[in-house]
């Protein structure tokens, strides 16, 4: 809506008042759009069956105040949730994903500096600044290959079977 008004005003200015220069501050409805490119973090939540956790609740805690939620939201149909951490607060950001008593906590280390915001006013040159924060993709919980997992399960089962054999051996 605001964008539409701005366009209308721009047209008015262009058509009716081509010769009159008005200071932009005189326009009470003047709109300033700003943007900045920052680094966003995308969480993908799935059950260990591979099924995405859709509509799961996400709570983000900032490093400076780990007891109060900094942001809350829900994952989309694919179990994804994207948020932009405040790069002035470097440290470990904690993301909790939870659905029906199931969930996990992901700790994301963010070492960043304040991103210089790039802003545009109508017609001005665009400045794009990228936040130099660095985050390596990571996952919570054990992530083994199918072979490793199979071997682990096999070892545990064989341990149980071995225990059973040991206690079932014939008494002398």
């Amino acid at each position: 809506m605001i964008i539409m008004i701005r366009t209308l005003l721009a047209r008015l200015v262009a058509l009716a008042l081509p010769a009159v220069l008005l200071p932009s501050a005189a326009w009470a409805h003047g709109v300033k759009l700003e943007y900045q490119v920052t680094q966003a973090i995308q969480i993908t939540a799935a059950y260990d069956t591979g099924e995405p956790m859709d509509n799961a609740q996400v709570v983000v805690f900032s490093p400076t105040d780990p007891s109060q939620p900094w942001l809350t939201g829900t994952t989309d149909q694919q179990g994804r949730f994207t948020f932009t951490p405040d790069s002035t607060q470097p440290g470990t950001w904690e993301v909790q994903v939870r659905q029906a008593g199931h969930g996990d906590i992901l700790a994301i280390p963010i070492e960043g500096e304040a991103a210089t915001p790039g802003s545009t006013t109508s017609g001005a040159a665009d400045t794009v600044t990228e936040a130099p924060a660095t985050v390596a993709p990571a996952a919570s919980g054990p992530s083994y290959t199918a072979l490793q997992q199979g071997l682990l399960v096999g070892s545990v089962v064989w341990g149980c079977v071995g225990t059973a054999f040991f206690f079932a051996r014939p008494k002398k």
Binding site: G101, Q149, A168
Partner: protein, 215 residues
């Protein structure tokens, strides 16, 4: 249905360990009173393996996907051995699969193990109550009841714990609806586990009836 790390307040986790510690001590004391306490260890060990693997067998029950728990079955077949067996099985599940967690091991063991012990007693009472029925009917119905009720009680404890300790910052209504949905999905699972317990008990009664006797 395992409670993971970090979603319950610390006092609840500590209380869980306390309850689990006491119940383990009580179970071991009861086991020690048997004439030969090691006699049932092979059976307990094999069922621990079954319990450990069962949690990775997923059954899709719309809208949720649930996995076998088998705590009622453990209680029915193992009696007092069930509690240590559940505790060991849960520890291995937490470490190998990441199901549940080490801080919530106590809570999870109490949540699944105590209903297992109750299922064992229920199995005995129900068999005495139905002793004028034919052996197969009495055994089968008692095992079904024990298997289903053992799981049902665990789901009730899960429901109570997750609903009482909703963490701050969550949309409580949405989470409550999700928890209730998951609990409802466990009603068909109760029937499945009850039927499985009954089939196994009837089968054991035919091929090796001494396995059903508590020493």
């Amino acid at each position: 249905m395992h409670l993971p790390d970090g979603l319950l307040p610390a006092p609840v986790c500590i209380a869980g360990f306390a309850v689990t510690g006491l119940t383990t001590w009580y179970s071991l004391k009861q086991i020690n009173r048997f004439s030969n306490p090691t006699e049932s260890i092979p059976k307990a060990s094999l069922l621990t393996a079954a319990f450990f693997v069962a949690s990775s067998i997923h059954i899709p029950i719309p809208p949720a996907s649930v996995h076998l728990i088998l705590n009622g079955l453990m209680g029915t077949l193992l009696g007092y051995y069930a509690f240590p067996a559940v505790l060991i099985g849960l520890f291995l599940q937490a470490v190998v699969f990441g199901h549940g967690g080490l801080t919530t091991l106590g809570v999870n063991a109490a949540m699944m193990g105590i209903p297992a012990l109750l299922a064992y007693h229920l199995f005995g009472w129900s068999q005495r109550a139905t002793r004028h029925w034919s052996t197969n009917w009495s055994l089968g119905s008692s095992a079904f009841l024990a298997g289903a009720v053992g799981l049902g009680l665990a789901v009730l404890v899960f429901l109570t714990l997750t609903l009482s300790f909703l963490p701050a910052g969550l949309d409580a209504n949405l989470e409550r609806a999700a928890i209730l949905g998951l609990a409802l999905a466990h009603i068909p699972l109760m029937l499945i586990e009850g039927a499985f317990t009954a089939i196994l008990v009837l089968f054991l009664n035919r091929v090796k009836p001494q396995l059903l006797k508590q020493t």
